[in-house]
């Protein structure tokens, strides 16, 4: 698909750091540093033991410009951990919940595998784990965060396209990137309040 990004995307007002509000984990991604090596996908699958045939993160391809001035453009993506998550809203058992620090997580004991959340997610970030009979997705590597480490995909990213941190901390790398650059989010019109910000290139 031919895509001209400049002037076509709605840029959003980047969120200002709010140190009083507590942590808000978020990604800031520089698409022009992504080389589509898919190392993040491998790192994620290894770290989270993702079942074969499913992925928790992926790289969307966009073609920019008009022939003959074409360029390929990569947008690494995973669960957007929305501020207003549609998956959490439709979950009939309350298995999907939103943590204080903005992480949208699943309580696997309560998930009955109805897959309504997969219908609701506009990003198709969720997959159905047939072996366990539950739905699963990116957790921002919550087990690593709680141990003080960055998510596996961020640690492994060769081009340095993925940045991760607390956007409410003015000293964090992501807050500084947001303050310096024009950013956009995927499907702003869905009103989901995603926490993956893409830097306009």
């Amino acid at each position: 698909m031919t895509t001209n990004l400049k002037g076509m995307l709605t840029h959003i007002e980047p969120p200002k750091p709010n140190p009083q509000a507590g942590r808000r984990w978020a990604f800031v991604i520089e698409p022009d540093r992504c080389i589509d090596c898919e190392a993040c996908m491998v790192a994620c699958s290894v770290e989270n033991q993702v079942p074969v045939g499913h992925h928790r993160n992926w790289i969307a391809h966009r073609e920019k410009g008009k022939f003959p001035y074409l360029s390929l453009h990569f947008e690494p993506e995973n669960c957007h951990h929305c501020s207003n998550p549609p998956c959490e809203m439709v979950c009939p058992t309350g298995a999907t919940f939103r943590r204080e620090d903005g992480l949208v997580l699943i309580n696997y004991d309560d998930c009955i595998g109805c897959r309504y959340c997969m219908m609701a997610c506009p990003y198709d970030a969720r997959y159905f784990d047939e072996d366990r009979g539950v739905v699963d997705k990116c957790t921002f590597c919550v087990h690593r965060l709680d141990a003080g480490q960055p998510p596996a995909c961020v640690e492994t990213c060769i081009g340095g396209a993925r940045h991760f941190g607390d956007i409410n901390d003015p000293e964090s790398e992501v807050a500084k990137l947001l303050a310096r650059h024009e950013v956009y989010v995927r499907y702003a019109e869905a009103g989901t309040g995603p926490a993956i910000f893409y830097i306009m290139d």
């Binding site: 439709v90 009939p92 298995a95």
Partner: protein, 334 residues
Amino acid sequence: MEHGHTVFEWGLLVVIYLYTAGISAGMFATSAFATYVGGGRYRRIARLGALLAPWPLALGLGMLVLDLGRPLYFWKLFVTIQPTSPMSIGSWLLSLFMLVAMINLILWLPRPWRNLIKFPHSRADVRDRLRWQPLTARMVRMGRGVVAAIGFPLSLGVAMYTGILLGAIPGRPFWNTPMLAQLFLFSAMSTGVAALLLVAALWGRISDPHELAHERHMLVSMDVVLILMEFFIIIPFFLHQALNTRSSAESLNLVMGGPYTALLWGGVISLGLLLPLLIEGYELYPVALKEGAVKYNRLLGGLSGLLVLIGGFLLRYVFVYAGQLSHFLPVLPR
């Protein structure tokens, strides 16, 4: 690496569940309606609807549980109420409706069967089971009225819920319109009436064309109205989707040139709505023009019932499958 759904997460089991829930709701609503109108003229339709209403839903609920990733954990739905989840509200609504429909079934059982259901209060009752009759005729009459009044809004709720389940999701532009709830509601009512029409056509001695004649007249009239209502929804559905955001407009391609075109236009609209409407119009036109009685025709009555039932199934099939292929679209190509 391209991303997106490659398999349909919701398949035939969900289609069958939405379909059977609609038929049950439609049959119950028709039965409740027939209980109140006509001063007892339509008692046989009321009874037929009451006796049949719970069974399609019972089958559908079985399908729904089997469709879960962990069927044995379905009870997790009933230890919580999630006000923002249509599925949570719907599960409670369905259970309540099922309960009311079962009570209605017991109240409408023919007397000898009804008397088999006994709740003995004393030892004497147990000893003399055949003489003890728990429900007097007056209690049954009152009970039918009360249950019909409680169950009617519940049945409308169940029918509407099947549409809201899909329509309340912003992430699927093909579904995300308030008209889906109405479409599924009227389709549910229509398939419920059609199921009764089909049974009425098969009922009794085939040689007697006047068997259940005025009941069939009522069912056919109701079905004509309901089918017309469906057209009043489908037409604005297409107009609104086409004039909505680009994601919505392009989601229409799924049924206009896309993989579900033939099923929607050929199956749902022509076979399931237009053809039965023509047949029922042919049966009713002498009345509408005040030229005479309805053309009672068992074959045509049964055929239009069958066609509406097929159309209702295909409607749910098309929507459940096509909706899963619809997405928000990324930035516009220039």
